[in-house]
Amino acid sequence: MAEVRLKQLVKRYDKQEIIKGIDLHVQDGEFVVLVGPSGCGKSTTLRMIAGLEDINAGTIEIAGRAVNDLQPHLRNIAMVFQNYALYPHKTVKDNILFGLRKSKVSRAVMDDRLKQVATMLQLEELLNRKPADLSGGQRQRVAMGRALVRDADVFLFDEPLSNLDAKLRHHMRTEIARIHQNLKTTFIYVTHDQVEAMTLGDRVVVMWDGEIEQMGTPMDIYLNPVNTFVATFIGSPSMNLIPATYRESNGMIVMADLELPMELLPGVHTANLKDKQALYVGIRPDFFEDVHYASELEAYWKLPERTIELIEPLGFDKEVSFSIGDQFVKARLDLRSDLQAGNALGLAVNPERILVFDRDNGMRVN
């Protein structure tokens, strides 16, 4: 167990900066998820921590020692690869014990750990098979076992679930969360899947274009994104961003035919806005409520009636689409709202959940 510190970390390929000087402090025992779209540098960052990529500037410290110039095999880390990287000529058992054999632990300890990991990951029946005889999900579990059997300072995961089908991915996600709860070691986990990021991380680090856009607890990132990138990347379906303009004369934010009184928004100060400033109003689909079922409507912002254009049923939920001006907007309503396309729709939103962004630079306005 150990903490990991990245200080002003830079990675360049042919003069182009892929990682642009990031700082990150992962606490001992913390589960940190790096999330972002492909090409954002999250995997490169992880591989730099592992020692599989050179560092062009900055430092990486694991357990208080700088590891910049240490080869991967000297860093005492364990890693689960996206494509599992199992040794095809070794049995499951030998794959799992390969790292321990090097660290010269006693036979008894080895057997003990193997048994522990095999039970935890339900690998008991597979120990004598070769990777070629395993299904994708089984291989994934072996790859996890190979990492978890080690007494490593830090465990690294490079999109470990991305090759599994949806059901298995969900199952393994829960498994990983459970394993971390039991082991309480330092986990750094890379994914492009925002659901994995939200559900697994003690802390989520959202990356884009080689920089950290925001880090915080999953709920913090979900409720208080610092810019439109984070706002739309985290959460599914994406946050609605409705183009708007601030009108100082009557203190209204104007969206096409809708007006949102500034006095409703406790989190936004008029001092931070200019007359005629171009804005986005951000509302998550989940925060729209059907006026028929909302309880405390007093303080809510009630939208004038809209016409439903499309309904996508999801079982318990349904996604209801309508327009504000030219902007297509989605609301997620539950079973109770029995609606059809073409119906009139009465919606309300808790104003605390309405976010305002500057349309020019995408930054949140408070």
């Binding site: 599989l52 095999h73 860093r75 890693m79 494509n83 990287a85 040794y87 390969f98 090097k102 190979r146």
Partner: protein, 288 residues
């Protein structure tokens, strides 16, 4: 599939095989059978043959020159096969690393394999020439490692080493090519996983590279054994005094006191060794 379709398919299969089968029968099977037949006769130059039973084989078993030739062949096989495999592996590992002009170097390494035997043989003979060769010049005059010039190729005992080195030099590129092709297909993340599991470059070579190369190394070794057991022209052209089995057979069949029945018997012995190697290749290597 119905039985009729299966029967039709297999008839088509036989028809497609027939031409190749015919050629093999005419050019390979017939000579082999005829050779086996000859090995039981005392063959005269005018074509007359007398049946002698197994006496050619008995003569062979008591012939010192045959055992000497067998020994030469074993040294030649061991030296060339180990040499080409090790050198091919080393060069393949080296040229699998990234460096400028890598593709050019990879191309140049193949040259010995593509060069015509006869032209490079003359070059090698010149290198070891006792009077004008650079080998003697360097060893005697420059480095002083030898006190006097030697006719390296002229002496069978030293000539075999020249023949082995020549064969390694000429044929390692095929080992290099096969091994390099396999090296390039080993997934990079296996090396990364082994590095993270705590293994240094040497450990990764032992635990990732070698097991992955097992099949191709087996192929290289067995194919080289099969080819070199039959190799005639390289040895004969460079140093005709190195009597490996094919050359021994040639001398007995076509030079000096000609004894084609005896030569045929030696050829049968060689065939038995060859069949053993081919059996190994089909049973083991092709199964991996």
């Amino acid at each position: 599939m119905s039985d009729r379709i299966v029967a039709q398919e297999s008839r088509l299969g036989y028809r497609l095989l027939a031409p190749a089968f015919l050629v093999i029968v005419l050019l390979i099977l017939y000579p082999i059978m005829f050779n086996l037949y000859l090995s039981f006769f005392d063959v005269q130059l005018d074509g007359n043959k007398t049946w002698v039973g197994v006496s050619n084989y008995l003569k062979l078993l008591s012939d010192q020159t045959f055992y000497h030739s067998l020994g030469t062949t074993l040294i030649y096989l061991a030296g060339t096969v180990v040499g080409t495999t090790v050198l091919g592996l080393a060069v393949a590992l080296l040229l699998n690393e990234e460096f400028p002009l890598r593709n050019l170097v990879r191309g140049l390494v193949l040259l010995p394999y593509f060069a015509p035997v006869i032209s490079v043989v003359f070059g090698w003979q010149f290198i070891f020439d006792p009077v004008n060769g650079i080998y003697n010049h360097v060893m005697v005059e420059e480095l002083g490692l030898m006190s006097e010039r030697q006719n390296v190729i002229g002496e069978p005992d030293s000539a075999i080493w020249v023949v082995i080195v020549f064969d390694v030099w000429k044929h390692f590129p095929i080992a290099f090519l096969l091994i390099l092709a396999k090296l390039q297909s080993i997934p990079k993340d296996q090396y990364e996983a082994a590095a993270i599991d705590g293994y240094s470059a040497w450990g990764r070579f032992i635990h990732v590279t070698l097991p992955e190369l097992r099949f191709v190394l087996g192929t290289v070794i067995l194919l080289r054994l099969i080819w070199n057991l039959n190799r005639f022209e390289d040895v004969y052209l460079l140093a005709p005094n190195v009597e490996t089995l094919p050359i021994y057979i040639y001398y007995r069949a076509f030079t000096g006191v000609i004894d084609q029945g005896f030569a045929a018997a030696v050829a049968v012995v060689q065939l038995v060794f060859l069949a053993g190697l081919i059996w190994l290749y089909v049973r083991k290597v092709l199964k991996w």
